[in-house]
Symmetry: C2
Subunit: 734 residues, 2 copies
Amino acid sequence: MHRLWTLKEFPFHPEKLLHHETIFCVGNGYLSTRASFEEGYPKQVPATLVHGIYNHAPGALVPELVNAPNWLPINIRIDGTLFQLITEAIDFLHPAKGALLGYQRTLDMESGVLRREVLFRAKTGSIVRLVFERFASLHDQHVLAQRVQIFVIDGNPEIIVESSIDGDVDNNGYKHWGDFNVEAADNMISIGAKTQQSGYRIGMASKVKASGKLRAKAHGLQPTISTKFTLQPQETATIDKITTIYTSRDTEEPLADAKQKVSEAAKKGYDTLLVKHRAEWRKYWDSSDIQVDGDEEAQIALRFVMYHILIAAPRNDDRVSIGAKTLSGFGYKGHVFWDTELFILPTLTLTQPTIARNLLMYRYHNLSGARNKARANGYEGALFPWESADTGEETTPQWSDPQPDGTRIRIWTGDSEQHIATDIAYAVLQYWHWTGDDEFLRKNGAEIFLDTAVFWGSRAEAKNGRYEISQQIGPDEYHENIDNSVFVNRMVVWHLQSAFNLLNWLKNNAASDCERLVQQLNLTPQRLDHWRDIIAKMYIPFDEQKQIHVQFPGFFDLEYIPVPLYEPRTMSVQAILGHHRTIKTQVIKQADVVALMALLWDELGVSHQVKLNNWNTYYPRTDHGSSLSPAMHTWVASKLGLDETAYEMFQHAAEIDLKDNKGNVRDGIHGAACGGLIQAVLFGFCGLYINAQGKLETEPRLPAHWKQVSFKVYYRGKRRSFTIKNPVAVPPSE
Amino acid sequence: MHRLWTLKEFPFHPEKLLHHETIFCVGNGYLSTRASFEEGYPKQVPATLVHGIYNHAPGALVPELVNAPNWLPINIRIDGTLFQLITEAIDFLHPAKGALLGYQRTLDMESGVLRREVLFRAKTGSIVRLVFERFASLHDQHVLAQRVQIFVIDGNPEIIVESSIDGDVDNNGYKHWGDFNVEAADNMISIGAKTQQSGYRIGMASKVKASGKLRAKAHGLQPTISTKFTLQPQETATIDKITTIYTSRDTEEPLADAKQKVSEAAKKGYDTLLVKHRAEWRKYWDSSDIQVDGDEEAQIALRFVMYHILIAAPRNDDRVSIGAKTLSGFGYKGHVFWDTELFILPTLTLTQPTIARNLLMYRYHNLSGARNKARANGYEGALFPWESADTGEETTPQWSDPQPDGTRIRIWTGDSEQHIATDIAYAVLQYWHWTGDDEFLRKNGAEIFLDTAVFWGSRAEAKNGRYEISQQIGPDEYHENIDNSVFVNRMVVWHLQSAFNLLNWLKNNAASDCERLVQQLNLTPQRLDHWRDIIAKMYIPFDEQKQIHVQFPGFFDLEYIPVPLYEPRTMSVQAILGHHRTIKTQVIKQADVVALMALLWDELGVSHQVKLNNWNTYYPRTDHGSSLSPAMHTWVASKLGLDETAYEMFQHAAEIDLKDNKGNVRDGIHGAACGGLIQAVLFGFCGLYINAQGKLETEPRLPAHWKQVSFKVYYRGKRRSFTIKNPVAVPPSE
C-alpha cells in the first residue's frame, strides 16, 4: 500500500507554502533541508540545518543553530522565460511571464526522496515538464543529490540551467557566516565560510552533470555552474547536481574534504547514490516501522512522525542531540529541551538503540555545563540546562520576544524548570533497562544519573519537618516559580531511590566504576544518609479527602476555568485569556500530574482509583497549549481504559504537524509530539512494558476500530516482533 | 466508525469558503441549501434551490433554476458586538470588532445535519460558544429547521438575536423574484413572491422559539423576528427557528400553506422534527449505504457521493429531475443532461427504485418537448433536449460566456449531441430490467423507448450503400459536428434492436398497450422494416487492421497529442492548448469508445482483445476534461483487469468534489461523477450484472487493498444483500 507511505501536494498550495516546507523536509541525521523550491518563491524560508553548528549573534539573547549555505538553487530558462511557479490568474495560452500548467509534489517517506513534477509553458509557447528530485544521502551523510529532468512536450526550446550554492543565507534576517571563500573551477563550485562568533568552518562543493558546455563562475556568494542546450520535442534532458558538505566538527579541512568528496560522489553518479540511499532507508524502516491495520490516517501519521524522528536523529555523532523543532525550522533556535529525553528518545531506545546512546552521550559530554549551572545557583552536582546547544551551558533566553503591547515577558524556565535533571536521568535508566547496555551505564550513564541525584540532594530544602523544593516550574509552564510541584518532588524521590538501586548494581557488577564514582562525586555515607532522609520525608502534596495528588499547594485556590467549555478552540486558553490572567487560574498547559502517572505508572504506588481521580481532576483543566500534551494524555487515558478519550487525544496529537491547526509548523516539526505519538501507541495502546521478571509484555487496549498493530523493538540486544490483534494480543516471537 | 460518516472543517478555512459551501449542503430531495453562514460572510453565495422552479431572465440565453429566498439568516449581537467570523490578525484579548477564538463545522452525512460550533469574544470581553445546527427535513420536505445555542463562558452578556427570511436574493446578480408579499405578525414572518417570467409562486414562513419577548417586523424584503435577553455565566440560551416552504408547483396557495405548516411544525418543536428526520435518514441509508473495508478514503468518498445523490433526488415529484450540478450551485443553471440517466440514475434504480421512476417520469412528461425538437429539426419521433428544464424544451445556450479575448464560442451540443435520445432509452430499459416494473414500461417507458427509436429511424441517412449519421457530437465533446461517431451509430443499432425485443415483449405481455403504441407512434410494418435495414447496414467505423473501433472516420488524421506527457496537469489539455487547437487534435474529453464498451460490454459482440485494443488506443488520448470521465474509465479498466489504472481512476473520480482540484466545486456538486463513482464500484469493481438466466451475479475485481465491499440492491422487487470479499465473492443472500 504505497499510498500510505507518501505525503502529496496536488495541485500547488501557495497558502500552505511554509507548512509544506517543513513537513516535506529531507534529511539524514546529519542535516535536514526544508522543502524550499530550487527556483525560489516569494517569502519562502529555505534552510539547511546541520547538527551542532551554533552561533551567537551580537545582540541576540542566545545562540542559535545556523542556516548553512543553500545547496538547492537550480534556475531554468526555457526560451528565455525563467521558470517560476506563476499562479496569478492569467491567459494560460499567452502568458506574459510563463504559466504553471501542472504541479504535484510527493515525499516518499519510505525512501526519503522528495519529488516534484511541474508542467510549465514559456512565453514562446513551448511546454516542458520538469521533474525535480532530491535526497540527503542516508548512506553517506555528507552527500546531497539533486536531479532535474526536462522533458519537452511542445516546442523546440533553448534551455539554460544555472546551478548554484547560495552563501547569502540568514536566520530570520541575521547572517551568521563570514570569511567566505568562493571558488569556481572547471565543473566545480564551492563555498567555504566560518560562523562569526563560534568559529565553526563549513565547506560545500557541487558538481553538475548535464548536456551542453558546463561553465563554472564565482560571482558574489553564489558560485554557479551553467549550461545551455536545445531540446527537440519529446526529448529529455537530465541535470544531476551533487553537493557535499563538511564542517570543522567533522574534519580539519572541511572545504578541501567537500571538494574531494564531491568528485568521488559525482563519479559514482546520481543513480548509484540513490540505490545506496534507498538500501539504507530500507534497513532503517525495517527496524522502525509500526504497522496499523484499520486506521489509515493513523498509519500515515505514525510513519510521518517516525520519518521526522529518523531524519533528525544523529547516527554518527554523540556530541549533538535533537532540538525541539528537529532540524526542520528555526523555532526554538535549534535548542535541546526535555522533549528529547522524555518524548523522542524512547522511540529510538526501542528501535535504534545506537542512536539513543548518541543522544545520551551528548548529555554526558555536556556534564560540565550542567555542573556549572548547579554551582552558579549554589548547588552541588549537575543541573542540566533547560535549553542546551553546543556548549552544554544554559541557553534559555531570559526574556520573550516583544508582545503585541511592546513589553517582553520574563522567561523563568531556565531558572526554575529544574526537573530536566531527573528527566535525563529517567532516560538513562530507561535506555539501560531496554538495551542492557551495561558498558554505557558504567562509563557514562551512572555518572549522569548520580550527579543529577547529587544536585537534588543539595537542592531539597529541610523545612517544616519535611523536605520541600521551592521555586519550580513543572511540566505545566503556566504556573511559574511554584513551591512543591508534586511532579518535581515525586520524581526526585524516584530519582534518589533509583540512585540507591543503581549504586547497588554497580557495587555488585562494576566495583571499580562504583569506587571511581563514589570518589569522584563524593558519595559519602553522610550524603547517602541525607538522600535516605529526603526519600523518607519529601513532601508529596496529596489531598486525602479527594484522594488526588495536588499539582502544587495552592493550585486549587486559583480561579477555576472550565477548559472544555472553550471548545472548539483554535488557540490555547492562555492565548484567549492572556498570559497575565492565565497564571492566576487553574488552567494547565500540559500533562503534569498526568505526566507523573505516565512515567511512574507502577512506581507511584497508588490505587487505580487515585489515578482515575487525578485524571478526572486535571484532564478537564488542561488546555494542551503545548504540543507535548495530547500524546501523553493518550498514553495515560489508554492505561486508564478511557478508550474514546484516548483516541481523541491520539487524533489531536497526530494532526499537530500534518494539519498545522495551530499555524506554527512553519517554524519546524514538533519533535516531542512525534515521539509522543509513538510512545502513545507502544506504551499506551499496546501497553508494552518490562515485567517484574524482566520479560517484555503487552497489555493492549487498541482503539475499537484498529484491527492490528505490528512493530519490532530491540530488547537487550535482541529484536522482538510483535503483532497485537484487537482485542487479543499475540505473544512476541523472536 | 462514526468518523467515516462525517465531513469536518477545523479550523475555519476562508480560502475554501465556496468549496465548502457546496460540499456541506443540506437537502431533502425537494430543495437543497448551500452551507452559507447564518450571519453571512463576504463573497459567500447562499442559495436554496427548489426542484422545478425555473425562470428565464430578460436578456439571458436560457432559463435557470431560481435561488429561493434565504431561510438561513440569524444575526446575533453579544453586548452590542455583531457576531461575525473575524479572521484578520488582531489582538485577541482586546478585539475591536470581536474575535473568532474557535471554529468547527461538521456535516453528519448519516443524518443530514450540519453543525457548526464557534467560540467568539465580544468587544466587551464576554466569551460565548455558539452552536448552529440545521437540517432540511427528510420526513416533511416543506420543513426547514435551525437551532442556535448560545453558551456563556465568560461575562454576563446582553444578547440580541434577529432571525429573518431574506427575499433580496439573486442568481449571480440577477433577481428573479417579484410581486413580494412580506408579512410579520405575532411570532411569524413570511414572504410570498412570484418568478417574473415563469410565474411560479413561492411562500415561506418562519417561527422562532427563544427567550425574551419576540418581536416580528416586516422591513423591506427581510422580515425579522428579534428578541433580547441577558445570560449569566455558564447559562445556555436556545433559539429554534422553523421555516416552511411551498411553491405553486405543490399547491394553489403556497403562502397560506407555508403559514399553516409553520405553526404546526413549530408546535412539534425542533427536537421532534429532528427525531423524525433522523429516522427517515436511517431508512434511506439502510437501502443505500455501500460499505468498504480496507480503504477509508474510498468509504468516505462513497458516502459523500451517495449523500449528494440522495439530497438531490426527488422523492415525491415525478415532474422534475436532477441537474448536472444537483441542487447545490448555479452551475449549468440547474439544467438536466444525460448525466442523470447514464450516471446518476443507475444508483437510484438499484437502491431507490421509486425515485428512479420519478426521474424517468420527468422525461415521459416532457415527451412533447422532445417531439417538438425532433419536428423542428425535420425528424419524426422524440429527440430529447441536450439540456432540459421545467418545460422539457431545449434549453442549451447557443453561445458560451465571453472568453478571455472577449469572443463567445458557439455551443453545438444542443444541435448535435443527439445521443441523449438513446441514453434515456437505455436508462428506461435498465430500470425495467432491474425493477421488473412492467406497469411503468407499458404505460410510460415503452413510449419513451419507441418514440426515440422513431427519431433515429428518421435520422439515419441512407448513403454510400449503408446508413450513416452525420453532424453529431459524441460523449467526446472536443470534436463537434462529426459524421459517424461510433458511439452514436452503435448505440442507435442497439436502440433499434432493443426496440424489436421490447415490441415483442409488449405483444406477448401487454397486447393492448402494444396496439396503442403502434397506433400512436405509427409503428407501421414499413417503419419496422426500415429499422431492420438500418440495423443491418449501419456504418460502424472499425479498423480491421488495428482491430479497434474508430471513434469517427478521420479521427486518426488529426494531430496526435500524447496526453500522458501533460501530467501532472492541474487543468484540461483543452485549457492548455486552447479550444481552437484542441478541436484539431486527437485529444478526447472523456470516455467515448470507452463509454460504449461500458454500456454495451456484452452486446458489443467483440473479443476481449478488441476491447483491450480500444482501451490502449483511447485511454492515452483522453484528458478527462469532463468530470464524467474518470469513473467510466474505472468501470471499464476494472472489467479489463487493469487493476492499478482502475484504482487510479477511482481516486481521481473520488477527489473531484472532495478535493476540488479543478477549483469549480463552488458552482455545485458534479452529480454525474457522484453516480459514476457508485457505478464504478458496483458494475466495475464488484462486477454486478444480470446474467442470461435473469439472475444477479458478481464478477468482482476489488482493488488489491480492499478487503470487502457490502451493499444492498433491489432486484425485481426484492432486496438482496451482497458481501464481496477479496478475492472471493460470497453469493448473495436474500
